[in-house]
Symmetry: C4
Subunit: 210 residues, 4 copies
């Protein structure tokens, strides 16, 4: 139960499937000739939503990888916090499809945008919980990780999280600006906000992980 | 054939896919304006069913991970018992969708609820078979696992299983109480019911599994 | 390129996804009351097809696992033979859905049954190719595997393969008997037909695989 | 963050799912009798598109495996270049379905063919970026890999890439020739174009990667 390997494998699976299911939400138009070209052009919100959600999930995965790279073992609490996080990750194809379907109608885009951003807020909260749990006591961290430095990343990490409630408000006024902000937040988290200086592993100690 | 690694990888894959396919069952409403909001609100049984089934499969996976953490190798019988178990896990998106579709009509919810709970009964039976097979002879357990203690968990484990036939009966009278009971059973199994005291691995022996 | 690890991981992924996608082919009936119950009962061919195809793919996976357990490395030819094999495995949800859709109408069941069995014939041929390639020169086998004994399994292995062309003919007369024969063939291959006596690994040699 | 293991596992997942989702794009005809047979025959473009796209993704995966076999660690830049590459891989079921749907009508096939080939051009460009990034500085390569020889593969590798813009032009005149050329390009890349002579690992040094 305290091996990180299967938790990582299961999480990788859920991330990989959620990110690949996004494509199923883009319709294949049936029309012919001019109507086909037009139908393909008209569903551009689907392409934009695909790219943004792919980047968002991709960046989530990269940070999940970085986080689990800092820990040596898991406990039951972390496994279940991670499971709740994955519940939101696995759900993302749905708000993505909802947004793509309604992005061209401003009124409906607000409803869809609030839901899309709301799911992201929940995700950011859960991610914060996972990270706080890991660094608070630090009992799961690898021996080479500086627990104090890890704790201090929480400020920088939560700073980005503040962007998510903003996207909910933004969705009510400008759905497109909201989508752009999600893109920007993905870029923010693409840079390593969980970077923790690692002490050099002493030469004589045996490797801690295979 | 007696390596647990690929059986775990394949099982992780099936669990991860089944849990992520659940989201495909939530419809993306097409209406506009007021009708969109209403359609989104009206399909709340889909959200509830998603959360409950996600937790159920998630807890199943956590226990599957715990179980395979106790064994050092697999034999042909365990591989096939595990395959039957996965057949039920992979099927869960279907009763979930069925329940979500029919939960608002009490009469139909009973039919859907009996099927949903029936699948869970089959799952609990198969899980019991896998666990009993593993602990009965104990020939697959890791050398550090106390086979006697492992056997004694069966009482506590099967105690929870008794809840599943109850959900079938409950489905006939109160589909909602049934769903709540499934949530409670997931919480019961979220606590480690397979906890087995492990003897300390002797310092001089080489590690048995990587 | 000559490490089996990623080929196994990719294959496990394709097997796990194909086996889990089978459930998407079972429709969720929309009717209410008596019509719901009837619709659920009427689509029993879907349930039977799910169980048979799940067992077939599951047994394929178990034997794939057994086969790769005998080899120490892969070469480009084996990777591509394996890729062709996976092309057929990944396709199986389609003939399964076709068969489920048309099993109740005897005339249409023959067409669907011939296609279903035809795909299985192609699968058996490719599996035979993979196995023959592995044992023919034996250059990929693990050093502890007796190449001569491995070669001699081909008779027993191909004996089962003869059953698949029979299912094609049977589909033309009795689609149900055909489906039952597929179940029987899965049971035949569930018993280890690739069992190869392994020489004891010499104590002084280092372990060949991690 | 500098371990290749999870990047490979996540990439394997995306490749495996994208390649297996291709089958969902082949419709299951509902008609009966003569109409069923005819409907099955008429959707042959779906079968051809399935086979070609399966081979294309399969060959992509084999080369991805070969590429990651040459590197010992990843950095943030490579992780994100790889993520962009996966965004295109995960998208492939969509242009495949589009092409299958419109291949029989020459006019529409041109539109669908240009999109299909365009996605492949983007994929080739991103693949070229990943490979160039890896070999340019060579800081991620395994110590046994000859960085100079790795750099020199770029000519041969990019030679194949020139075929993709040709497919876009070809799509405008002969969609079928375009599809055949994609098949040929898959065969070109099936042969190891990333083959790099490896220096013998010195006997006394410890293995660098498991």
């Amino acid at each position: 139960m305290n091996d990180t390997k299967r938790v990582e494998a299961f999480s990788d699976g859920v991330f990989a499937i959620a990110i690949t299911l996004l494509i199923l939400e883009i319709p294949v138009p049936e029309g012919s000739g001019h109507r086909l070209t037009q139908a393909l052009l008209e569903q551009w919100p689907s392409y934009v939503a695909y790219v943004v959600s792919f980047l968002v999930i991709g960046v989530m995965w990269v940070n999940h990888d970085a986080l689990f790279g800092l820990i040596a073992k898991v406990d039951r609490t972390l496994v279940f916090l991670n499971l709740l996080l994955l519940m939101v990750v696995a759900a993302l194809p749905w708000p993505t499809a909802l947004l793509a379907e309604h992005l061209r109608n401003t009124g409906d885009a607000k409803v869809a945008g609030v839901i899309y951003s709301g799911v992201m807020v929940i995700h950011a909260l859960l991610y914060g919980c996972v990270w706080s749990y890991v660094v608070h006591r630090g009992h799961l961290l690898r021996p080479t990780v500086d627990a104090e430095a890890a704790r201090s990343t929480r400020v920088r990490f939560n700073l980005g999280s503040l962007g998510y409630p903003v996207t909910v408000v933004l969705a009510l006024f400008a759905p497109w600006a909201m989508l752009a902000l999600h893109g920007l937040l993905a870029v923010y988290y693409a840079f390593n906000q969980l970077s923790v200086p690692e002490r050099r592993e002493p030469e004589e100690a045996p490797a801690t992980v295979a």
